[in-house]
Symmetry: C2
Subunit: 404 residues, 2 copies
């Protein structure tokens, strides 16, 4: 069978062991091909139902609900630790945003050392901004190296922050090798890999990480993020934000701050209980499928994107801006095109395909193996080719705007 044919994609779907997971998501009448799960994942049916239950629980149990809710940052953290991160119970909490968690972790680490902050210039903006802020606050240099690999050559470094998967190119950084090579502590942002690329923090020697739950973990818009600190590093670190959820014996209120021994010391204020329930359901669904199986399908699907993009006649002008080695690529493929933004708009408005755009010239096509079909990938690429062949990108309103 022609590997470029739709029939081949259909055969892949028919043989897909994860095919059944698609119906675990709320799809409704939605005929769109959604290739932006790397930005905001779809709504799992279990999450919709759980949120309704949780809202009812708030209404019925009222304040007594806290007897169960109060442990959810650590309980859901344990679940993520085991199922997604290759970490141990007691090493992860879920609360606050990725930004706030990165801030807490970096500020804690900077407390006892001098030296520069290092990240790569292409790291996700909020990661860079957090470091810029900490550099300004502590009078340090922030060095932006060209790529994660370049961090290893830097000297007089206090702390390095790197992303496991690059949000633009989809390139996977070698977490274990870089953690070993870099002299300083490294904080890994696993937002773009959590749930879709196997992560073994402990085996990789990683001691610090943060990440997002609303991408491949499907926990919904603004769901809380996670924070990981290897057990052996917890006791010496203090979050800069001393809050009552990090306090030992939280309800013995008349004492000075005395943080919990373990990972809970990184909690601050009252955690978002609805969001935590959504994270729990999203992680359970991922765990049921298994990250290894998800990864195998993701690799096959991004390979299909690359293969089809390569097969197009050159005049269409696309360039694959992601690594060609699937082992070095996360779950999205970046295509570079000078008209990337109007092409994105035309895909959304005229072709029923939802990619996303990252300026100035990148179209990201993300596959979320729990619900993306091989035929979705094939149809999306086919429609993309059609849009560009017909010049439909010149028929849409392409006023510069925002695609999240």
């Amino acid at each position: 069978m022609d590997p470029l044919s739709r029939e081949h994609a259909q055969a892949s779907d028919a043989a897909d062991p994860l095919a059944g997971f698609r119906e675990r998501f709320v799809l409704g009448e939605d005929e769109r091909i959604y290739l932006d799960g790397n930005s905001l994942g779809r709504l799992p049916v279990a999450t919709r139902d759980r949120l309704a239950v949780l809202v009812r629980e708030w209404g019925e149990r009222l304040v007594e609900g806290w007897a169960d809710w109060i442990d959810s940052p650590a309980r859901v953290g344990d679940l993520i630790a085991e199922e997604v991160l290759g970490a141990a119970p007691g090493e992860v909490v879920v609360a606050d945003s990725t930004t706030v968690n990165l801030y807490k972790l970096c500020a804690a680490l900077l407390d006892d050392r001098t030296g520069a902050l290092v990240t790569d210039a292409g790291n996700f903006p909020t990661d860079r901004y957090v470091l810029e802020g900490l550099a300004a606050a502590t009078g340090r240099e922030l060095r932006l190296v060209g790529a994660p690999e370049d961090a290893a050559a830097e000297r007089d470094v206090a702390l390095v922050v790197l992303s496991h998967v690059d949000y633009r190119s989809g390139a996977i950084a070698d977490m274990a090798a870089l953690t070993a090579e870099i002299e300083a502590d490294v904080v890994w942002d696993v937002s773009h890999s959590a749930g879709v690329v196997p992560i073994e923090l402990r085996a990789a020697g990683v001691q610090f990480a943060v990440g997002c739950t609303y991408k491949y973990l499907n926990a919904g818009p603004g769901a809380p993020a996670f924070l990981y600190v290897a057990r052996e590093r917890q006791a010496a670190l203090r979050s800069p934000i001393w809050g009552w959820f990090g306090q030992r014996e939280q309800f013995a209120m008349e004492r000075s701050y005395d943080p919990e021994d373990g990972i809970r010391r990184f909690l601050a204020g009252t955690p978002p209980i609805l969001g935590l329930a959504a994270v729990e359901e999203g992680v359970r669904l991922t765990a049921e499928a298994g990250v290894e199986a998800i990864r195998a399908k993701s690799v096959a699907q991004t390979e299909l994107i690359v293969t089809l993009a390569d097969a197009w006649p050159a005049p269409l002008g696309f360039e694959v801006a992601s690594p060609r080695d699937p082992a070095a690529r996360g779950s999205h493929v970046a295509l570079r095109h000078p008209e990337a933004w109007p092409i994105c708009r035309a895909l959304i408005e005229r072709a029923g395909v939802v990619p996303d755009f990252r300026g100035p010239d990148i179209i990201r096509l993300g596959v979320a193996p729990l619900y993306t079909r091989f035929t979705d990938v094939w149809d999306a690429l086919d429609r993309l080719r059609g849009v560009v062949e017909r010049g439909e990108q010149r028929l849409v309103d392409a006023t510069p705007g925002r695609v999240t």
Copy 2:
């Protein structure tokens, strides 16, 4: 009619202009008398429905939902500003927890000044902890004065943090007078007054405030908090947490951090969209009733608590630990009793009344005028008397524990 009689309470309910708001909450089969809305407010019907709509919206609109969601921290902030805080549009954002917001605001204010931090020893624990942390990080003294009023006498002060309503006693601090008298900037925590005690930040000369939405604003467990900075003070302040939601032109990602001009510069990471919707609904309901009307009922209800508590024979051993002047009292009454904790447990387990406990010896009875009836107050006090007269506090498991 005897003002201590249940008939009098019934007559008050019959004449209550807010009585109809009770059915705007999900009550179900719940026969309990809930006097802990000062800790976690009840679930409004509109919020239950809105959350279901929002979850569906996530499922259907997917990432395109962000076109509307992205403005919700500022939009809901404007609503709170106008309806609850006596502030102007553009002065409030909703995101993160009260703890994180207090940290951001205090750290921003400390950036350019020397001097001590001041709060009162009885301020809410997380407020004290945040200040302890900032004192430690910046090498400052943290002075714990005896009462909010004592802050005015302190010298060489960088920043004062006070609560508008004391979480234990319910005492209202004179926000306008103290803000004027205290030389340093004052950050007000209005968590225990927002939505139930009229707040006029601008008229009171207040320039900085934070507060919680899950108490009298009924936004649910862990709903996001708000942060207020008077417009004229915004430009000079920078949040210590530089995040992408505070960035001007957030999606022009290839630039250095350059914060928004206005209040949005205090945003950090991706805000919790479900929680924001719940805040919006809760504030709308409060606005529909009007904080002035809510306050009038709250005063009448806390007066009834004090009157009934005073009328009991002295041997029951309760002491009113809240101000007796209703103008100086928020929406809960603290009763002091040496057996406060077992009495609380007996009320919950044997009498169908939910108060809360604050160690070592305080029972808090909170009224939430949108759903608390005068007969609820009367029945609760009657049952409290019965529990203590019969010594039921000695019949329950009173192992020291937690009541949120």
